[in-house]
């Protein structure tokens, strides 16, 4: 596949390495000459010095024949211009990296459609989802995230005392954003339907929006109180802002430590519900003052890897229960495993690795990707609906899936939702499906 990447920062150059290693023909456009000289030696790709948002430059590198165009600079506007131009000049698939939520807010205009970009990807948001996954779903049986955190699948036990026992599902009046997939009773698992009656001890598989699912939790198991989670973030970076968005629920008490006074003011004005502290988390006095020992989660998400690692070790020593961090540089990849086992750091995420994973999945030519395994041997698959698929233009209720398979999410362009019976599948959409054991082949036959 012919791929053009604009911008050779941490994200862009790592992407280039990964894609070139998997056999793609990669061209990397970077504006700094010094950087290019270094890249020329490190990358098995064509390195071009130039401006990625100039049409002449793009024509020179053969944008019309490229299969994927990835704008990965750290500047949103450059990325958007590049992608828009590339699309206009004939690139098949254009993906822009963005940081600013301005461009993913579609209430006034749909930026993606307006500029003709196929996909906007935010590596910091992907990281934030990874971090939030642990924080949001502590104590749940089994959780998986799909569609960039917009949809969650979890398994939940129906405990003694739940008011749901003995009722048909249709009587429960669940939110439209949530669906019950399977009900497992003893050894048998069956697909839930409107007449299914829940009994004590059943394990149900739910999917839907994460916060709504969390609210439902109490109904299934009244003994579980909603507890407050104290979260301390170090660094007001993009990852932190995305994480704050994901942890909007009032049960999270967020405290953020940021070194820059101006950034502190901005954060405080933007998120009045959180506590912003101006200071440096590398100072032990500040950490003690802010009672790190009673924090449930300490997340280091500054741009500086070394500070992240050290403050995490410090926090863990001071008694923070769970410690997570962001690693930006690729050079520390081999250290991550060590951090996790020896230093009690639970989650380490990196924007570059997250982007590379995301792109590889997105650019892979197979229309089927396996996202996760279910404990009972089933699998969660993402399937791209091509133009030749038999289900194009059909409503969900008219599609006959093999018994034991369920639609979890429907991804149309940039939006993900739990599909309802009336929703229609279009070519180019992607669907997330739970497949029971051994039914993969039948499912692929039905959808591809």
């Amino acid at each position: 596949m012919k791929i053009i990447i604009v911008g050779a920062g941490e994200v862009g150059s790592n992407l280039c390495t990964v894609l070139a290693a998997s056999g793609h023909d990669v061209t990397l456009i970077e504006k700094s000459e010094v950087q290019c000289e270094r890249l020329e030696e490190e990358q098995n790709a064509r390195i071009v010095t130039g401006n990625g948002s100039s049409a002449k430059q793009l024509v020179d590198v053969g944008v019309a024949k490229c299969d994927a165009f990835l704008a990965m600079t750290s500047d949103d506007r450059t990325n958007i211009i590049s992608c828009s131009l590339a699309k206009g000049l004939g690139a098949k698939n254009t993906i822009a990296r963005i940081h600013d939520e301005t461009y993913s807010d579609n209430s006034f205009i749909n930026y993606q459609l307006h500029f003709g970009i196929d996909l906007l990807v935010n590596p910091e948001a992907i990281c934030a989802v990874e971090l939030a996954k642990e924080i949001r779903s502590a104590g749940r049986v089994e959780v998986e995230h799909f569609a960039r955190g917009q949809i969650e699948v979890q398994r939940q036990r129906v405990a003694h005392g739940s008011r749901m026992i003995g009722k048909q599902l249709r009587e429960l009046k669940l939110d439209a954003q949530v669906r019950i997939g399977y009900v497992q009773r003893g050894e048998t698992t069956e697909i839930a339907h409107a007449e299914t009656i829940l009994a004590e001890g059943d394990i149900v598989t739910l999917f839907g929006h994460p916060e709504i699912l969390f609210a439902l939790r109490e109904k299934f198991d009244p003994s579980q109180k909603i507890e407050l989670s104290r979260v301390v973030l170090f660094g007001g970076s993009e990852v932190a802002i995305n994480l704050i968005h994901l942890l909007k629920n009032p049960r999270f008490k967020i405290r953020i430590i940021e070194k820059d006074r101006l950034q502190c003011r901005k954060l405080a004005e933007r998120f009045p519900q959180i506590t912003v502290i101006h200071g440096d988390a590398t100072s032990i006095r500040l950490m003690e003052e802010e009672q790190i020992d009673s924090a449930d989660y300490f997340v280091a998400c500054t741009k500086d890897d070394e500070e992240n690692i050290l403050t995490c070790i410090q926090a863990s020593k001071l008694g923070a229960k769970h410690v997570q961090l962001v690693i930006n540089k690729g050079d520390y990849d081999d250290l991550l495993g060590m951090l996790q086992t020896r230093l009690d750091i639970e989650v380490a995420v990196s924007p570059r690795a997250a982007t590379a994973d995301f792109m590889l999945r997105n650019l892979s030519s197979d229309s089927v990707a396996q996202l996760a395994n279910m404990p009972d041997g089933g699998k969660v698959m993402e399937i791209r609906i091509s133009h030749s698929s038999p289900v194009v233009g059909k409503a969900i209720k008219d599609i006959r899936l093999p018994k034991g398979c369920l639609f979890v999410a429907l991804l149309h362009k940039f939006k993900a939702k739990v599909p309802g019976a009336e929703d229609i599948i279009l070519a180019g959409d992607r669907v997330v499906v739970i497949v029971a054991r051994d039914l993969e082949k039948d499912l692929i036959k039905a959808l591809v």
Binding site: A20, D25, E33
Partner: protein, 490 residues
Amino acid sequence: MNTAIIYKLLSMVLLALCVAFASCIGVGLAMGEAWNDRSLMAFETTIIISLLLAALFYVLGRKGEAKLYRREALCLIGISWIVATLVGAIPYVIALPGCDYTDALFESASGLTTTGATAFWNFYEFPPSLLFWRSLSQWVGGLGVVVFFVAILSSLGAGAKILFTNESSGKSADFEQGRVQQGAFALMIYYLSISAACALAYRIAGMDWFQAINHCMTTISTGGFSPEAGSIADFESPLIEWICIFFMVLSATTFLFVIRLFKQRQNILRGNDEVHWFLYILIFSTALLTLYMVELTGDLPDHDSIRMAAFQATSIMTTTGYASTNFDTWLPPAKMLLIILMFIGGCSGSTAGGVKVIRIAVALRAAIRSITHSFRPNVTIPMRMGGRPLGEAAIHNVILFLMLMAVLQIVSMLFISALEPELSFLSVFSCVQATLFNIGPGFEAIGPTENFHFLRPTTKTFLSLLMILGRLELYAVLVLFVPAVWRRYA
């Protein structure tokens, strides 16, 4: 240093050489040699020796990681060329009764580096298989011993790029393909196709197949070995000479430029300064030589004089070294012109030797700039080459390279004149020049009708090293003599 990867790749270089030797056996059989002839036995022995060496290197390098940094890449190239030269000399030693090992070494180095100087006065009496090896070694060396693998080994990743850049005078940055492997592969395809076209043209022009293939391999690689006693002149065919001129020019032109021309992505008139300079110099010197010949004979310029001038100018400037006439008998002005052409050489990214037109062009522009700066220090003069801006570091590198070449030339002259006190100044000068710049023939004692046989063994060994130095543009060989490269922490 990661020596394991060097061993591993060396064993592959040797395996590829085995394939080349095997093809020589095939040609020998086809040309009527018998299995138990001395010449074929020589190739069989060589194959066994290189297989054993390959096995040894493979065992030594089996644990190698596929990580290649500059140091390893440069060492690998330097060592590969030296090993290939040593192994390539074995067939001469075994096949020729009473052959001196330094003669064989010289011939092998001259072949692989596409120099085309010979140490044998009776090479035209060689058995066909050995003649074929002589030509084949030039064809292999033209593109590079290591480049052949860059295309095949994709596991090397970006390391392949460093290998390519250091072995060939071209830059991988000019490839249209992203992966250097694909780029090198495209070059190989181009090399094969112009070779085929050249062989076909020779065949049609009247050579037999054996002559056509041998000459095509030495023309396209700008090597200059000919299986005929009197080189191209023996055919006495103007058509063959014109075909030869055309293909020599083609092989000394930047390959990627020609590929782009074919694909119509490039306007012939625009875009590549180097090719333009090359053609201007060639046409200008042809005109000068024609003028000289007209002056000499007093006739008007006719077809013969133009052809002769064009042939000599092309053959010398592309560093091929075929002779259609004995230019050693020419008067000093013509000889001086040829000496200058020898220095300049062909374009970068082609098979030609010399210091390359692009370096001369850059150095001249830098010189003009420095003259301008001497009286107008504040003016900013843009430096561009081939449509790309030239960084100060690049200009610096070019000037340093020219200086290193000049120093090497002068020091080697001192060395050779000490070893061979009976040689004239011009002989010593052209001895060094003909080998360091990979040309082949020189003047006086080593003129186009002479050979290097009479030199002392030490001289021939030293000249062999000079040829490899010149072919690899110094650095890959010079680093081998830097102790810090071999020390663990230096």
